[in-house]
């Protein structure tokens, strides 16, 4: 049995409220024991030793929102490259959305993704099944079978379910199976063909706006349906102050709703868009006021976790006119470094950030992840909080380069990632 020890690191594990200098002993891919760090003490024969002095050791990150593009758009990302990118970003478990080609609306596609991930993947991949067949918003998928095949949640992400009655049935049916519905909240009739946040910037640039209410109207609807059905609802990529307020209010009333926000919506605003298609995503970048509200919501627990919405696109989709470019940015490899800005700015503590990136998302989806407690899978991220680095898209493991953080200098970097006790990423 393989024996690994991570020595002398500062362990931050919010799942057991642990913060301090410890040695972590791993056997057979699981955490075997955690002991206060004893410098120089011998660990015995046959232990593979990693010196983590001066580094932070935390549970591997869990991303509830990625797009791996396989099957169908392998030139943008494959399960292999997407999971490599995840490992480089410190993510050891990811959920991949159903909007592939063909979409993940059947047992066959789910099994394909699982098999590919086992054969070629470097981190743990949990597929999200479609809510409706073909993501067409008409008929429910065979969710029981999807669950059996390995789906951990259902979502028509990217395509909001405009039919309110169908959304109700989806919540009821998925709820009965213990599947969470992840909702991409967007009223497409109000959105029309909008391409960026509605406001002065859109007016100045002559681009069609997407009002904040496109999101908040649907969040309000889905909260109402969540209350009606009692099922579990998770709101994807919240971007607006009004969205936050609606979720906060629902949580106060005890509604079974959770929510995520992305690094880009926490750091960027519509004033940075210009005509740069690497700043085009859905939902769009909003205003300073919205960013403030999202940060506040992270602190008070209204937003439960951070998710990347990693959405790879090639130059074919992005090197075009702004209104014709596809929505989406990659995020797996920059998420942690970018979010460290919130730590440096005093918005979050490092422990809170780790909780938002690992413990919380794992808990929301009931995954065996996000913890270093004894017996847990040894999915671990090792972080150098002092390391400064510059975002250079050409060095990404992802096949795509569409990041709005190009050229940013960040402080704090993932230096090593373990999955089941094995190194899956090591900084060169």
């Amino acid at each position: 049995m393989e024996r690994v020890v991570l020595r002398g690191g500062r362990i931050i594990d919010p799942s057991q409220d642990m913060e301090g200098l410890y040695d972590i002993f791993i056997m057979g891919g699981r955490v075997a024991s955690i002991k206060p760090a004893e410098e120089g003490s011998p660990v015995g024969e046959g232990w593979l030793e990693y010196d983590c002095k001066g580094l932070v050791v935390a549970p591997g990150f869990v991303d509830l929102h990625t797009h791996l593009r396989e099957p169908g758009e392998e030139y943008k990302e494959t399960i292999k490259t997407g999971t490599l990118a995840a490992a480089a970003g410190g993510f050891t478990t990811i959920l991949c959305m159903a909007n592939t080609t063909p979409p993940n609306d059947s047992e066959a596609v789910t099994r394909f993704i699982k098999k590919r991930a086992e054969e070629e993947g470097t981190v743990k991949v949990h597929p999200v099944g479609a809510i409706t067949k073909g993501l067409e918003g008409k008929e429910l998928t065979e969710m029981a079978e999807l669950k059996e095949a390995g789906c951990v949640a259902v979502s028509d992400d990217g395509r909001p379910l405009m039919n309110t009655s169908l959304m109700r049935r989806a919540l009821e049916y998925a709820g009965g199976l213990g599947l969470t519905v992840i909702s991409h909240c967007e009223d497409i009739y109000l959105k029309e063909d909008g391409v960026m946040n509605e406001g002065f910037e859109a007016t100045r640039l002559g681009l069609k706006g997407i009002p904040a209410q496109v999101e908040s109207i649907m969040i309000a609807r889905d909260i109402e349906l969540c209350e009606l059905t009692g099922s579990r609802l998770h709101i994807a990529h919240v971007s607006t102050r009004r969205g936050v307020e609606l979720i906060r209010d629902a949580k106060r009333r005890g509604v079974n709703v959770t929510a995520e926000a992305t690094p880009h919506h926490l750091l960027l605003t519509d004033r940075m868009v210009g005509y740069d298609t690497d700043f085009k995503m859905n939902p769009p970048l909003r205003t300073e006021e919205d960013v403030e509200a999202l940060r506040e919501a992270l602190k008070d627990g209204t937003i439960d976790c951070v998710a990347t919405d990693h959405a790879p696109h090639s130059s074919i989709e992005k090197d075009v006119e702004f209104d014709m470019a596809k929505d989406g940015v990659v995020g797996l490899e920059t998420a942690f470094g970018v979010l460290m800005r919130l730590v440096h700015e005093g918005v979050l503590t490092l422990k809170e950030l780790v909780r938002l990136l690992s413990t919380e998302p794992a808990k929301l989806m009931g995954l065996q992840a996000g913890s270093l407690s004894v017996g847990s899978p040894a999915d671990v991220v090792v972080i150098d909080t002092e390391r400064e680095w510059t975002v250079e898209p050409e060095t990404f493991r992802s096949l795509s380069r569409n990041t709005p953080f190009k050229g940013w200098t960040l402080k704090g970097r993932v230096v090593r990632t373990f999955v089941d006790g094995r190194v899956v990423y090591e900084e060169e």
């Binding site: 706006g209 005509y275 090197d319 006119e321 209104d323």
Partner: protein
């Protein structure tokens, strides 16, 4: 004399002294078009490409005539007759055109920001001839030049812009330019056609044309872009004409010497009644004449003389 920039993409980015330079240059080039032999050798050996992804009569012709009167070689490309139909991207088209070494590409495109893409990609000059609902800088230049000619100034004038402000690149460029030169600008139209926070450009907003025309020195009427009204922004052309159209009757409330402008093409009987289009207030055809002079000035200021490196 030369502008210290490679491209003309927006009025927003132009300084007041650059605007003045363009106007004084346009005034001298206007004379060329009055001559018997309407040609000067200024741009001999220079190549200008008009790359038009949207239909255009006035703008494209004015650019072409402007280039030809300065002895440049002018090539016109319209999207319908080119490889665009075969699926080539804007970037690829631009790079291929540049490979033939033009000195300037004039682009009109339905996507806001299209001229920015070209300018960032190419080493030749790029002039924006209208990009989506963003800007139409040469239209604003000819509009303001026309106003300046008539009043001898822009400072302190009250300018009313009426119509579909939401989709109008002409409105945006004019607001920027008029504000930089000290005019007071009011925009007017149905609430559905006033873009959010437009007042942050320094203009005021009203929905009532009858009040707004009373103290206006200049009224710029915008075209209702029938081809763009996919959504129902107003109930009918009839109601639009009734509420926001300019008739001789309505004009009785305006100043006697008010200037009526329109970037064309006019929908007769919608924005303007025929008697207003053809009436004494209208400078619509002067705008067209000045459109040539202003574009000659721009070509000269971007391409003329010896290139400084």
């Amino acid at each position: 004399m030369r502008l210290k920039r490679k491209d003309i993409l927006t009025i927003e980015e132009l300084e007041r002294d650059e605007l003045e330079m363009i106007f004084s240059s346009a005034a001298s080039f206007k004379e060329v078009s009055e001559r018997d032999i309407k040609k000067v050798p200024t741009l001999r050996g220079r190549t200008i490409i008009n790359l038009f992804y949207e239909p255009s009569t006035r703008t494209r012709t004015a650019f072409e005539i402007a280039g030809k009167r300065m002895s440049a070689d002018v090539i016109n490309i319209s999207a319908s007759a080119s490889s665009v139909k075969k699926g080539e991207t804007l970037m690829d088209t631009a790079k291929n055109l540049e490979a033939m070494k033009p000195d300037c590409i004039v682009i009109r495109h339905s996507s806001a920001g299209a001229s920015h893409i070209l300018a960032g990609l190419l080493s030749c000059s790029v002039i924006n001839a209208g990009d989506g609902a963003h800007e139409h800088p040469t239209q604003a230049l000819l509009d303001i030049f026309t106003i300046k000619e008539r009043f001898g100034r822009v400072e302190g004038l009250k300018v009313l812009i009426v119509g579909d402000i939401l989709h109008s690149r002409v409105a945006r460029s004019n607001i920027w330019g008029l504000k930089k030169l000290g005019a007071e600008v009011t925009v007017c139209g149905p609430p559905t056609m006033i873009p959010p926070h437009i007042e942050r450009l320094g203009c005021s907003v009203t929905y009532n044309i009858d009040h707004a025309i009373e103290d206006a020195d200049v009224i710029i009427m915008l075209r209702i872009q029938l081809e763009r009204q996919r959504a129902t922004l107003f109930p009918s052309l009839r109601e639009y004409a009734r509420c926001w159209g300019l008739s001789a009757e309505r004009l009785k409330r305006a100043k006697k010497d008010v200037l009526i402008m329109h970037p064309g093409p006019v929908n007769r009987g919608v924005e303007l009644s025929p008697e207003v289009i053809d009436g004494p207030w209208s400078v619509i055809l002067e705008q067209v004449t000045n459109g040539v002079a202003v574009r000659m000035a721009l070509f000269y200021l971007l391409l003329g003389g010896v290139k400084e490196d």
